[in-house]
């Protein structure tokens, strides 16, 4: 589904992605963890080309990512993205947020898009907020709307860039529950997160990144109980102690 080969990226002098090799199979849930500044968000953002890469190649369903333009826009429509800061369209209602893409990008009739949009909002548990503006919702509700907005495009793969990092502890659960049910429904997902519980329950594979490299990857069971690298042991020591 997603294939990254020899990907390199620099931010000025900082080599933020080094020799990235990654294959994500259809239906697979890959969770990317690692310390801040390890390049995991950047990795996630390169997959729909919100960040460009310096070297290497990225393919989605066997097609290399096109240059900025119409073809890239079409590809992005098939790749869902959920951001840390939700990024709901602030001037549109919750329902409009979910229907804007299908109507404007896919050319779906407005009534059909609204029907489908309400179903999706129902599915993520915020249908009662459909007429409100994003700013009137809690963070957890906003993030669930953002997930519904992505789903409305019927994406083949979904990227989550620290989806719960801006949320209160109570709201993290409701968002993670939504993501777990997506994962169980067979969605292909790449999830950058600090939620180890989610990694344990929902991931097919855990990817550990540090200093721009994929240091280690394994099943969650193996990774958490028996990390191979010093760097991963050190990281897990620090975060799992409390």
């Amino acid at each position: 589904m997603v294939a990254m080969r020899g990907v390199q990226k620099h931010f000025g002098a900082l080599h933020v992605l080094q020799d990235i090799e990654l294959d994500v199979a259809p239906g697979e849930v890959v969770v990317v963890i690692g310390p801040s500044g390890s390049g995991k968000s950047t990795l996630c953002r390169t997959i729909n080309r919100l960040e460009t890469i310096d070297e290497g190649s990225i393919e989605i369903e066997g097609r290399p990512l096109p240059q900025e333009g119409k073809a890239l826009a079409q590809l992005r429509a098939d790749v869902g993205m959920v951001f840390q800061s939700f990024n709901l369209f602030a001037h549109k209602t919750v329902l409009e947020n979910v229907t804007l893409g299908p109507v404007k990008v896919r050319g779906v009739a407005k009534a059909d898009a609204e029907k489908r949009g309400l179903e999706l909002l129902e599915r993520v548990g915020v249908a009662s907020q459909a007429g409100k503006l994003p700013a009137q919702l809690s963070g957890g509700q906003q993030q669930r709307v953002a997930i519904a907005r992505s789903l409305a495009m019927e994406p083949k793969v979904m990227l989550f860039d620290e989806p719960t990092s801006a949320l209160d502890p109570e709201m993290i659960k409701e968002v993670l529950d939504t993501m777990v049910s997506l994962a169980q429904g067979g969605m292909t997902m790449v999830v950058v997160t600090h939620e180890m519980g989610f990694a344990r329950t929902a991931a097919d594979r855990v990817l550990f990144m540090a200093d721009g490299r994929i240091v280690e990857q394994n099943t969650p069971e193996e990774f958490f109980t028996n990390p191979q690298s010093e760097r991963a042991r050190d990281f897990l020591d620090k975060i799992l102690k409390h």
């Binding site: 729909n48 919100l50 900025e68 333009g69 119409k70 826009a73 079409q74 590809l75 992005r76 429509a77 098939d78 790749v79 869902g80 993205m81 951001f83 800061s85 990024n87 709901l88 369209f89 602030a90 001037h91 804007l100 893409g101 404007k104 990008v105 896919r106 503006l133 994003p134 700013a135 009137q136 953002a146 907005r149 992505s150 495009m153």
Partner: protein, 214 residues
């Protein structure tokens, strides 16, 4: 009070001309300013440079100097236009620079994440602008835009020096004719400007409320 009541129709005529100057130049400046702002925000460096030069030149020149240039300069080079048009060209160009900068600040005020989200659901560049960025930018632009229009309202008084019988021109005439009622005349005319400005402020406040996003 006689000075005002006896000359009510002349004063109202004056304010009518003031309003005409305001409306014509407000629209002219909005159109020009939007054009300049889109150049200024364009990905093409040459367009940005042209817009930057336009803004530097016309924003930093006193409006009076610009009016002198179009008023006396255009006939010099063989362009024959009426008083109103010659003055309006200078006024629209001058005001458009402020409109352009207000619009630019509005676009910059829209968080980058909004455009990223739009691109992520497959919107091409132009659609991202028209559907997501510009509608929010325009909202953020209402207060500075109102300030620009208020400044324009008062700037229209410069036309008095060039033979257009707008409100301030009437003021000058009345002050000469009614030497004992100068205070009344000043405040009467000032009140007229205040009414116009308040209408603009009121309209802006309503737009802000209707378009608010939080």
């Amino acid at each position: 009070m006689d000075a005002l009541t006896d000359n009510a129709s002349a004063i109202l005529d004056g304010f009518w001309l003031t309003i005409q100057l305001l409306v014509v130049n407000g629209i002219g400046a909005l159109v020009l300013g939007t054009l300049v702002a889109s150049l200024r925000l364009s990905p093409v460096p040459v367009m940005r440079a042209v817009a930057g030069l336009y803004i530097t030149v016309f924003r930093n020149t006193p409006l009076l100097v610009l009016i002198v240039i179009t008023y006396f300069g255009l006939p010099e080079v063989g362009i024959q236009l009426g008083f109103f048009t010659r003055i309006s060209i200078a006024m629209s160009v001058y005001t458009s620079t402020f409109i352009a900068e207000a619009l630019r600040s509005g676009v910059n005020a829209v968080p980058l994440g909004q455009a990223e989200a739009a691109r992520s659901i497959g919107m091409p560049f132009t659609m991202t602008l028209t559907q997501v960025v510009l509608p929010q930018a325009v909202r953020a632009t209402v207060p500075p835009m109102a300030s620009v229009l208020i400044a324009l309202t008062k700037n229209t008084s410069l036309a008095a020096g060039f033979g257009l019988a707008e409100a301030t021109f009437r003021l000058k005439g009345l002050v000469n004719d009614y030497a004992t009622e100068r205070w009344v005349i000043f405040f009467g005319i000032a009140l007229g400007y205040i009414v116009i400005v308040e209408v603009i402020s009121f309209g802006a406040a309503r737009l802000e409320r209707r378009w608010r996003v939080a």
